[in-house]
């Protein structure tokens, strides 16, 4: 009797774990997705895209809390509008892309926050520094596809981006807004 109960319990636990894990990975449509960072230089807002990134989202509309997100950005692909400038930004003072080629975001919790809205918490790692971040994310379902959009304000100096004289935030502001949209299908 005891054994049967244990087995049943085990089956129940395994079963629910299986359903939780079934927040199936979506296939990201890179062409319709984008990640950018908007920085302010002498009060001029400049939105510059990261040309190379990978986003993996596990999402099930029926079980949003079981969602997971994982984004990996190639820092050297940051395009601020000119090849010469892009090379500068990959250097040690800024992204140090040689030593830290990727910036990553890994979610730790995703909580539903009303219709089409999720609150995402997770770890953002850039230039060897990791910070806990949380930000709102919107989800739109259209034609078998999901469109996830959100933005996350960060402080660049917390990640040591902009060393030496560039720590002076009167030239390039400390606050940078990371914007992303991920289009993904089942």
């Amino acid at each position: 009797m005891k054994t049967i109960q244990t087995l049943l319990l085990a089956a129940l636990v395994t079963g629910s774990a299986a359903t939780l894990a079934s927040a199936a990975p979506l296939k990201t449509d890179v062409a319709k997705s984008s990640v950018s960072a908007t920085f302010k230089q002498m009060n001029v807002p400049v939105e510059a895209p990261f040309k190379t990134f990978a986003a993996q989202i596990d999402y099930d509309a029926a079980k949003p809390a079981a969602s997971r997100a994982n984004v990996e950005i190639t820092t050297a692909s940051f395009d601020i509008g000119d090849d010469m400038y892009n090379k500068e930004v990959a250097k040690k003072e800024w992204f140090n892309s040689a030593q830290f080629p990727k910036a990553t975001f890994v979610s730790s919790a995703i909580a539903p926050a009303g219709a089409g809205k999720l609150n995402v918490t997770g770890k953002l790692t850039m230039k060897g520094k990791t910070a806990n971040v949380s930000f709102p994310l919107t989800v739109k379902a259209e034609g078998g596809k999901y469109l996830f959009e959100g933005q996350l304000p960060i402080k660049r100096l917390a990640f040591n981006i902009g060393e030496g004289e560039w720590k002076d935030t009167s030239m390039v502001a400390d606050e940078v807004v990371i914007k992303f949209r991920v289009s993904a299908a089942q």
């Binding site: 230089q41 510059a48 000119d82 002076d168 390039v172």
Partner: protein, 179 residues
């Protein structure tokens, strides 16, 4: 000889200073390799100055449309009048074309212009790398043309002052400088 009206004279010299200053700043800033504080600062100053010249040029064109310029010297040959007129039209066109090409170059590169760091100016086009490259070349060559035509304009003015001594240049000088 009649001279230009005070607003016309003031606008002419403000724009002259603006063009020479902005042009020089453009040469200095593009000479700096990589990214530096100075480069960012000069580039923004250059944009502020360029937009200022554009605004002054608009005022000047309006003034010119409603005010006839003073006559040339009576003995000035017809071909010189024609050449002067053509050169002035070209300079007017470039007073608009040069700052506008720079403005759109900046927009195409993804950089809006915030006048004096305070006034965000309209973002009329999206970031566009192909257009950016085209506008960079356009802005450069329009500036070279402007430099050539301004030089010609200055040489002609001094020819009137020193060789012809016909009072044509004095029309554009403040009254205390005329004799």
């Amino acid at each position: 000889m009649r001279r230009y009206t005070i607003p016309a004279i003031v606008l002419h010299w403000l724009i002259a200073i603006g063009i020479i200053g902005t042009f020089t700043l453009g040469l200095v800033m593009t000479d700096i390799q990589g990214i530096s504080m100075a480069k960012i600062r000069y580039t923004n100053w250059h944009k502020w100055a360029g937009v200022t010249v554009l605004a002054l040029a608009a005022l000047r064109l309006l003034w010119r449309l409603f005010n006839h310029p003073p006559e040339y010297a009576d003995d000035m040959p017809a071909w010189q009048r024609g050449a002067a007129h053509g050169l002035h039209i070209a300079l007017y066109l470039l007073m608009f074309a040069v700052p506008l090409s720079g403005y759109f170059f900046s927009l195409a590169a993804g950089y809006p212009v915030v006048w004096f760091g305070e006034v965000p100016l309209p973002v009329l086009i999206d970031r566009d790398p192909a257009l950016r490259d085209l506008l960079r070349e356009t802005h450069y060559w329009l500036n070279m043309l402007l430099a050539a035509l301004v030089s010609l304009h200055v040489l002609a003015a001094f020819k009137h002052l020193i060789i012809d001594r016909d009072g044509v240049m004095q029309r554009m000088l403040p009254s205390f400088a005329r004799k």
